[in-house]
Amino acid sequence: MSDKKLKPAPLANEGLSPDERGLFCDAAPREYEPAKGVIEDFYNWARAESLWILGFGTGCGAIELRPLMTSRFDMYRYGIQARPTPRQSCVFVIGGYASVKTLKRIVRSYEQMMGPKFVVALGSCTINGGMYWDSYNTIKRIDQYIPVDVYITGCMPRPEALLAGFQELKKIIKAGKGEGQNIYARDFAWYKANQKQIIKNWDMPDYNW
């Protein structure tokens, strides 16, 4: 993360109307100390065994989430289920490419999720642009904008690959390495600077939760 140079501190939620301001938190995100020892291990076990995916199909990757959710692959048996609201979800599946317009929603949804939160990125497009490497409207690296825990290759990755990806995520969480939330808080200014560079009509508060 040495390349993450801190830019000037971002704005607070100025410019919002008073009613709206009430809907957002106006504190910058902070890093959270993990609990001590066995307790954190126990928590991590629970976090790993109860992965709630945010139901947001950001790209073509969403198409393989359907078989995963339904009877053939049945991810429920692994404690994975889809949640319709970011507040209750802990896993964000980035389904492939993200257009700028979607990225804005991704950032918002991600920030609205409660930590610890994890990101699984599907397909080539999230790693280095994929087949839309020369498109004027899609980003190339999702890790510039939000921290990512697991990448799954493929275009599209098969549902099995997704399952394996979730197993890998479980391992990461159980090992206590799923600290995307803290990384995001630590490098918040860097992430915000990257986001604002791409999202031209930044009409949302900096603190989005």
Binding site: S71, R72, F73, D74, R77, A121, S124, T126, I127, N128, G129, G130, M131, W133, R141, D143, V148, D149, V150, Y151, I152, T153, G154, C155, P157, R158, P159, E160, A161, L163, A164, G165, E168, I172, K177
Partner: protein, 601 residues
């Protein structure tokens, strides 16, 4: 809305008593289908690093990277494709197009990591769990994006061919040439194999696009003998062609010929660069073969005044006197030489250095001298009786044929040797109505002649006798004495003497054979004639060859006695083909220029 609408939905519960759809352990139980387009595998041995996969990839997912332990060599760039799975879309067009068929896909699809920078690897080089996967996407049979078959070249039938000295190969039509040029993938592997390093993809592109002037210009950048080379070049390039790894190589030689054939000599000047203004220096070239004339051409372009001395009556050297008309018709050669002459190169025909003029004279009169006298002296058979009048010299026979002299070979001819001269002599003899036996010490696959030539010679009716070691030439008995000779040879078997070296023929004791021939043509190699070089010229020799430096310079430099001496062509190099001589000539011209203009060290 009837009662059924209330009852029927409960039919969902039927499912509860059936087997679930769920796959128990999907990752283990459901491998990719046999055709699944999973991760790439590459047979690094078969791959030649041509980069066609990189060219077709719409995602710019493939890079060609140097690989440890793999050097560039003829027909193999030493590079291997590296796939970026941050780009790949698993379309498998790279597999479909791969000329060698080395690139394939496994049916493996699991690659998960939390580090986004790891998803790049060189298949077949970096070890991966799916290496050597049996299943996975392969090109379907009969399905390639590239055409593996070359556009057939119209040739005279063999029956027809032996009747005359008409040119065998008829050349491509425009449509054929463009179709053939379309097979090229512009990988450029061929360039390194060409002694002259011609811009082969460049001129093939010119053919494809119908821009023959550009094509001609590209040809002349490195080779002023396109007509000749387009016909008789040893086409090492085609051996390196990446398309050749999975089919017929692109007919590079025929395409070169197509360009030269299509442009009239009168239109050359328009397409080709003009000579630089005169630099006021003079260079002499000894020998008007392809090497000498190439040097002359490039020197003339650079503004030198060039005079070429040729002992024979016509220019062209071995191209004219060593290669029969049916392979290289004289008008084609004349076209090449004519253009060189049109640049102001003077060819002094019939002037032999060492006889009419001495090398010292040249050194005195010129700023530099280029020796390109080739290998005019044929080796003898070196067996008892090889001085028999009916034992002829292959090169001499071919030269005589060129001069249109009566050859008088008779009805039964033996050709001893396995090189191109032997084949040409044999086929010339065939055209004079003789029955021809070709005798060679080793096996057919060991013959140094072009495979095409061997094939054609056989097809035209020559009999090939392999593994035959010459023993003796005896005069024929009786009335035929002095008019025919008995050739005696010993049958041989191939013995692997040393591990890793090619096997050598060893005579089978007692297996002597003999046959009566009207002529025995010895074509077992030629040597140089350096009698014109005197010691005071200061040309160092090694193994009967002038010793030259990397730039072709033979003498240490200009001495008070005269200009520097450069040498090249068959005289110096080991390849002994026209294109190498041309390359030497080109290089010598540049070296001479650098030497005389004082540029470079």
């Amino acid at each position: 809305m009837d009662i059924k609408d209330f009852i029927a939905p409960f039919a969902v519960w039927k499912r509860a008593f059936e087997k679930p759809f769920t796959v128990k352990k999907p990752i283990d139980e459901r491998p990719g289908a046999p055709r699944y387009r999973g991760f790439h595998i590459n047979d690094a041995e078969r791959c030649v690093g041509c980069g066609t996969c990189e060219a077709i990839c719409m995602n710019k997912a493939i890079d060609l990277v140097p690989v440890e332990g793999r050097e560039a060599k003829e027909g193999d760039s030493g590079l291997r494709p590296r796939v970026d799975y941050g780009r790949c879309c698993w379309c498998a067009l790279c597999v479909d197009i791969c000329p060698s068929g080395s690139l394939n896909m496994s049916n493996e699809y699991l690659w998960i990591d939390s580090d986004p920078d790891v998803f790049r690897y060189t298949p077949g080089v970096d070890k991966k769990p799916w290496d050597g996967a049996e299943l996975g996407y392969r090109r379907a049979e009969g399905y390639r994006l590239l055409d593996e078959q070359r556009v057939p070249m119209a040739e005279l039938g063999h029956r027809e061919a032996v009747k005359s000295f008409l040119e065998l190969v008829q050349g491509y039509s425009r449509a054929q040439a463009e179709k053939e040029a379309d097979r090229c993938v512009s990988c450029g592997l061929c360039i390194a194999s060409c002694p002259a390093h011609m811009d082969i993809p460049g001129y093939i592109k010119a053919v494809r696009e119908g821009d023959l002037d550009t094509g001609l210009r590209l040809l002349y950048e490195t080779n002023p003998f396109p007509e000749a080379c387009g016909r008789i070049c040893t086409h090492l390039c085609e051996g390196a062609c990446s398309i050749g790894t999975g089919g017929d190589p692109v007919a590079i030689r025929w395409l070169k010929r197509y360009i030269a054939d299509q442009v009239e000599l009168s239109a050359y000047a328009k397409a080709l660069p003009r000579a630089e203004p005169s630099v006021g220096k003079k260079v002499a070239v000894v020998g008007a073969g392809p090497g000498g004339l190439s040097a002359a051409y490039y020197l003339a372009l650079l503004g030198y005044e060039v005079k070429v001395y040729e002992k024979d009556g016509e220019a062209g050297g071995m191209l004219r006197y060593g290669i029969p008309e049916y392979r290289l018709p004289y008008p084609a050669l004349d076209k090449d030489i004519g253009y060189i002459e049109s640049l102001g190169v003077t060819i002094k025909r019939g002037v032999a250095i060492g006889k009419d003029l001495s090398l010292s004279d040249l050194r005195r009169d010129y700023h530099a001298v280029y020796l390109s006298t080739g290998l005019p002296v044929a080796y003898g058979l070196e067996v008892p009786g090889d001085k028999h009048p009916r034992v002829l010299d292959g090169v001499a026979v071919l030269a005589a044929a060129t001069r249109g002299e009566e050859l008088g070979l008779g009805k039964r001819v033996a050709v001893i040797g396995g090189g191109n001269v032997a084949m040409d002599a044999a086929r010339t003899a065939l055209r004079h109505g003789a029955a021809v036996d070709i005798l060679y010490r080793r096996r057919e696959e060991d013959m140094p002649a072009d495979a095409d030539e061997i094939r054609e010679a056989k097809a035209e009716g020559a009999r090939l006798i392999e593994k035959s070691i010459p023993v003796e030439v005896k005069d024929a008995a009786g009335a035929l004495a002095g008019k025919a000779a008995l050739f005696v040879w010993n049958e041989a078997e191939m013995v692997q003497k040393e591990e890793g070296k090619r096997p050598v023929p060893e005579a089978i004791p007692g297996a002597l054979r003999e046959e009566l021939y009207d002529s025995i043509i010895a074509a077992i190699g030629q040597g140089p004639d350096l009698s014109y070089v005197t010691e005071e010229d200061g040309v160092p020799m090694k193994r009967f060859k002038p010793l030259v430096d990397a730039r072709g310079m033979a003498s240490p430099g200009a001495s008070p006695k005269g200009g520097a001496i450069f040498a090249g062509g068959d005289l110096v190099n080991d390849r002994k083909d026209a294109i190498s001589a041309i390359a030497d000539g080109h290089r010598a011209a540049l070296s001479i220029d650098r030497h005389l203009s004082g540029k470079g060290a």
